[in-house]
């Protein structure tokens, strides 16, 4: 057993840090640190810098223009990026659609769409969830009817993150109602400028509007935009869910959040002393830090198995649960560290005023509220428990 990174990995980590130090605009990092919404241009700008370096698609093989990183390298990149408060790479094109096209798309689809993802020609969003199909994703109803050389799509998608910036959406749609509900689903690429597509923002309880509803009303989609075979979409969607989860534990985000919490606890006064000297609060920080130390190693154990070519199993569900628990606990402690000061929320709309010198406080409150989503989306923690128990029952 050897817990150390190899010399090559250490050199790679140094290169990532160097890149971040020279290319990441401090103002952008600060905005990101405060969990403020980035503009489309800011996100595209960061993508462009990474693309120039050849690092935008760490998970893609080199043949498709990716960096072809190992699981460990991707982990290092994600962790260093999170610690430096770099923008997160928008995952929909790079991390989600890309691998599906590479595995199941036609040569034409690969040649056309993959370079456009890297160049930033398209901004993709994801059309999976529907109002009636949340945890029960396969219960989706948005339907696509084949009419000649088009599908005609009708229905609704929801929780479409950053859909307001997108020109393209990849959707799971129902093409058949026969057999098991998983069997009538297809994977379709839809141009959002097509007549009949409407995007409506959903404001969340923290006041942000980063997710959307997308409505389809007789939307015509060319049949060449079908990925793989008709009625096999569930297979492609599941492939995504089980194979593109290297960052599911969110170790980098948790590390950055822990650093921030310690900084806040050192600055906030409690009973006349810095809060980090309060035994009860210090114990809560320590409890979470100790959890993170262990989870971080669980993550590495899993990566080291993945690096040897074995597919991750139930471990990704375990990391999802523990990872979100830790991040939510860190967010909760950070908000509570501010005590009576944390009673306002930043409002993205309207000019209704804002407390003085309180950017960090507002960010802590908003971030706590916003990150309640972590244990809900991408398969809620209840769904993950079901997956673990199901595996245990068989084992």
């Amino acid at each position: 057993m050897d817990m150390r990174f190899t010399p090559d990995e250490l050199a790679f980590a140094a290169e990532v840090r160097e890149f971040l130090a020279s290319e990441l605009d401090p103002a952008l990092a600060e905005k990101n640190r405060l969990h403020q919404s980035l503009t489309k241009a800011e996100m595209e700008g960061w993508h462009a810098k990474l693309h120039a370096k050849g690092w935008l698609a760490g998970n893609w093989p080199r043949e498709f223009g990716g960096a072809g990183w190992t699981a460990i390298q991707r982990h290092i990149f994600e962790e260093e990026s999170a610690k430096a408060h770099a923008p997160r790479i928008v995952p929909f094109g790079i991390a989600m659609l890309g691998p599906v096209l590479q595995k199941f798309g036609s040569k034409e689809q690969q040649d056309y769409w993959l370079p456009r993802i890297l160049n930033g020609d398209d901004w993709w969003c994801q059309g999976y969830s529907e109002p009636g199909a949340g945890s029960d994703l396969a219960g989706l109803r948005c339907r696509a009817e084949r009419q000649g050389d088009h599908y005609v799509v009708n229905g609704q998608k929801t929780w479409t993150t950053l859909g307001q910036h997108a020109n393209m959406i990849f959707c799971l749609v129902r093409t058949s109602t026969e057999g098991k509900k998983q069997e009538g689903i297809s994977f379709l690429l839809i141009d959002m400028d097509t007549p009949g597509v409407t995007v409506r923002p959903i404001v969340l309880l923290d006041g942000t509007a980063e997710v959307n509803e997308v409505f389809f009303d007789d939307v015509k989609v060319p049949v060449e935009n079908l990925v793989g075979e008709e009625n096999k979409g569930w297979t492609y969607a599941k492939y995504l869910l089980t194979h593109e989860r290297t960052n599911i534990a969110g170790v980098g985000f948790a590390t950055a959040a822990l650093d921030n919490l310690k900084r806040v606890a050192k600055a906030q006064i409690h009973r006349g002393k810095p809060l980090d000297q309060d035994p009860l609060f210090a114990a809560q920080i320590a409890t979470t830090e100790i959890e993170l130390m262990a989870m971080s190693t669980t993550n590495l154990r899993m990566l080291s198995v993945a690096a040897q070519g074995q597919a991750p199993g139930v471990e990704s569900s375990m990391l999802k649960i523990k990872g979100t628990q830790i991040r939510q606990q860190l967010d909760a402690l950070t908000r509570r560290a501010y005590g009576g000061w944390a009673q306002a929320l930043p409002m993205e709309t309207g000019n209704q005023g804002q407390p003085l010198d309180a950017d960090d406080v507002l960010s802590a409150t908003a971030n706590y509220l916003n990150n309640r989503k972590l244990s809900i989306y991408g398969g809620s923690n209840e769904i993950q428990r079901g997956i673990i128990a199901g595996t245990l029952a068989k084992g």
Binding site: W159, Q268, L280, G339, G340, A342, Y377, N381
Partner: protein, 338 residues
């Protein structure tokens, strides 16, 4: 032993429910004042006609259920403190609703210490208070410092106000004092009764919100279908809502305890102040987080009624010392107000 409401208090409850069904936002305060609700929160000495723990608890529970956000706690603390300090005229105006006062307690840069961001020089205050609910509408501000309570006129020299929306729904402000003249009302621990009633107000308000949020969640679990059945039929979720129901009863009993010991000797009252706020704060956060989780995505949307409830629950925990703050003082055997 009798835990039932008296006839008077049942009438008060009916009045409140009627008012809260008809009035909202800016309309609500005058309606409550006119109906005598502010008076019900205060004793005769304070310009009111009741002021019992039971009246306070039921009033704020109803406000909490309805999600009415307004600094009525500040009015209650203010009028009581003013009466105690011999400022009966202003107290009476507050009691009848013709004047409003705000309560400036929280400070930037500290969890719940007082006197970190504000200092006293003779009869002048310098520094800052934050998150002062209802400051824009107040004629006067009751201000806490390290060991005392002060009265500051809203138009006093050197006082500037920067207002913004509060998480709970209403508006608050940062108040900046620059050598601002103030009247010392007395030492902080002279006002234990007034301040403890503030804790009861926030706690009962939270209790109302706890009940509203858990009722809404239960309704959702009964109606929402996934995998072909109501999600309340999934045992893991059913057991979690059962555990929430147990905690809701704990919160109710904690409020009952403080309500029943509001006029007990200070050492006993303070234990109930701390136990109540610690229990209700803990349950409020638990219910907030579990309600969102049990709802799933819909529970995070602003359009859905839960969002406001969640924010009010967090705010009620945070106001005047959160669960951890009061737990620590209880564990140390310290007084609540010193």
């Amino acid at each position: 032993m009798d835990f039932a409401l008296s006839d008077e208090h049942r009438m008060l409850q009916d009045t409140l429910r009627g008012l809260l069904a008809r009035h909202q936002g800016d309309d609500l305060w005058p309606a409550l004042a006119e109906a005598g609700v502010i008076g019900a929160l205060l004793t005769e000495d304070e310009g009111g006609f009741d002021g019992s723990g039971s009246a306070i608890a039921l009033t704020f529970e109803e406000l909490g259920r309805a999600g009415a956000s307004m600094p009525l706690v500040a009015a209650m603390i203010g009028a009581s403190a003013l009466a105690t300090a011999g400022q009966g005229d202003l107290a009476a105006e507050v009691a009848e609703g013709s004047a409003r006062v705000a309560f400036a307690d929280a400070e930037p840069g500290t969890r719940y210490d007082r006197g970190v961001a504000i200092s006293v020089d003779g009869d002048r205050l310098t520094g800052r208070k934050t998150m002062v609910a209802g400051a824009e509408d107040a004629r006067a501000i009751i201000v806490t410092t390290a060991d005392a309570l002060w009265l500051v006129d809203a138009k006093a020299e050197g006082l500037t106000l920067n207002a913004y929306p509060l998480m709970e729904g209403g508006r608050g402000a940062d108040l900046t004092f620059a050598d601002t003249p103030a009247t010392r009302l007395g030492a902080l621990d002279d006002f234990g009764a007034a301040l403890s009633r503030g804790i009861l107000g926030h706690s009962a308000f939270a209790l109302g919100g706890i009940i509203a949020a858990s009722d809404l969640t239960l309704d959702y679990l009964k109606t929402r279908k996934q995998f072909g059945r109501a999600i309340l039929e999934f045992q893991a979720l059913a057991h979690r809502i059962a555990d929430l129901a147990v905690e809701v009863e704990q919160a109710r009993s904690a409020v009952t305890n403080l309500s029943g010991h509001l006029t007990a000797e200070p050492a006993i009252r303070d234990r109930h102040v701390q136990a109540c706020k610690a229990t209700v704060g803990r349950v409020a956060r638990l219910v907030a987080e579990e309600s969102v989780q049990l709802h799933g995505g819909i529970g995070m949307t602003e359009e859905y009624a839960l969002a406001g409830m969640i924010r009010r629950l967090l705010a009620a925990d945070t106001a005047m010392g959160d669960a951890d703050y009061h737990l620590e003082r209880f564990a140390n055997g310290e007084p609540a107000w010193a």
